[in-house]
Amino acid sequence: MTSIWEYANPKKFMQTSGRFLPWIAGLAALCMVGGLIWGFFFTPNDYKQGSTVKILFIHVPSAMIAINGWGMMLVASLIWVVRRHHVSALAAKAAAPVGMVMTLVALITGAIWGEPMWGTWWAWDPRLTSFLILFLFYLGYIALWQAIDNPDTAADLTSVLCMVGSVFAFLSRFAVDFWNQGLHQGASISLDGRDDMANVFLFPLLTCMLGWVLFFLTLVLLRTRTEIRARRLKALIARERMG
């Protein structure tokens, strides 16, 4: 049994990821398309929410990836700080835009869904607000990567930001809950109005969630490979310049 850290070697990573990528990508496409078709065409309408319940199949998996994507970045940042594996830092960099787009998808589908349900596009519901804040965290993280030229410095600083940001993101979630349940009652209809979800919704939702996880994995692998190539290119160009 070889150590998992071997995959932190760029070459080894390129080999292994290149071998698995087509399968993961294919499976991701299958689950996503299959789950969405199942959810869109073959589920009944909810007695209360009507056909809008179909948005669930996009909204929930995106929200899940939005949060767990940040979690993955945190783990990758910690690995970089502790063991200084370059692939780890690049994986964190690669995951950020994916997580950000997923946050955006969750926000947009939430807003469109909220319009008929709550009568407004945007409610300062604790959950929506937390996602907006999460979006800002992603934005700051990506902007910091963009702003720094030296790749190792950028990896170090973004890791520090990711760790501190995680603590504050957690605090923000808590604070936002406090803020809206406090004196001012929030929106009375909550997304959690489905205590016992019927299996007709549950199974396509699970399929979509699996699809989204695989999709996230595919994109992160693809983007990490691109980042590794970019680093290699940078090394080559620097060498050319040094003669």
Binding site: G140, A147, G165
Partner: protein, 218 residues
């Protein structure tokens, strides 16, 4: 350590308006808001706690990039990093100097600005207490952002982008305390939480700031 603090304060005074700049900005925001939302006293009273806190936050943000930028430009940051003071101490002192020049004057002057916004009577003590407890966190968190972006081109805008999400919990608890005070309720819970965030930030963030500075200096 005290030498560094005294130097920073002296520089702030000599630079002309180190203390005044934040206050002037605060005043401008407080004047602009009624011009924007209209002069109705009850409306202003309703939004005053939030406006006062947001204005304090922006006034803090305004001066953050100066925390390290000047020392970085003239080379003193390199020299400080090789001095006997640990870098964690340097960033703590820098945050303290920032608070003394922005947070503290804002806290002391806040009742005057509350008057302009028709802040209800019972809220005044809570306004001062919450600003007094909360603005140190703003300075410490801001110092962390400044340490991350020191030496970057266009660092100022990036600094705001990085720091503002980190300010969310402080803002929420601070403004909530004033709002509860204004409605005559007990503001103890948000104040305790605010104090917890401030203490936690003061205890832990200097290590992050020092780490970021070390990375940026090399």
């Amino acid at each position: 350590m005290i030498g560094l603090l005294l130097r920073d304060l002296r520089l702030a005074v000599r630079a002309g308006g180190g203390f005044g700049l934040g206050l002037a900005f605060f005043l401008i925001v407080v004047v602009l808001v009624p011009l924007g939302v209209g002069p109705k006293a009850d409306l202003l009273a309703l939004i005053a706690p939030g406006i006062l806190w947001v204005a304090a936050l922006l006034a803090c943000l305004l001066s953050l990039d100066r925390i390290f930028a000047l020392d970085h430009e003239d080379g003193s940051l390199d020299l400080l990093a090789t001095a006997p003071i640990p870098l964690e101490g340097v960033v703590t002192i820098k945050a303290l100097a920032h608070w003394l020049t922005t947070g503290l004057p804002l806290t002391l002057a806040s009742p005057l600005f509350g008057l302009l916004l028709h802040l209800p009577g019972p809220a005044y003590p809570w306004l001062m207490v919450s600003l007094g407890l909360g603005t140190p966190a703003l300075s410490v968190i801001g110092t962390f952002g400044a340490a991350l972006t020191v030496g970057l081109k266009r660092g100022g805008l990036l600094l705001s982008l990085l720091v503002l999400p980190l300010y969310v919990p402080t803002l929420i608890f601070g403004a909530e305390a004033v709002r509860r005070g204004a409605e005559g309720l007990s503001a103890t819970t948000p104040l305790v939480l605010l104090a917890a965030i401030t203490l936690g930030s003061i205890a832990a963030l200097p290590f992050g700031s020092a780490a970021a500075l070390r990375i940026n200096l090399r």
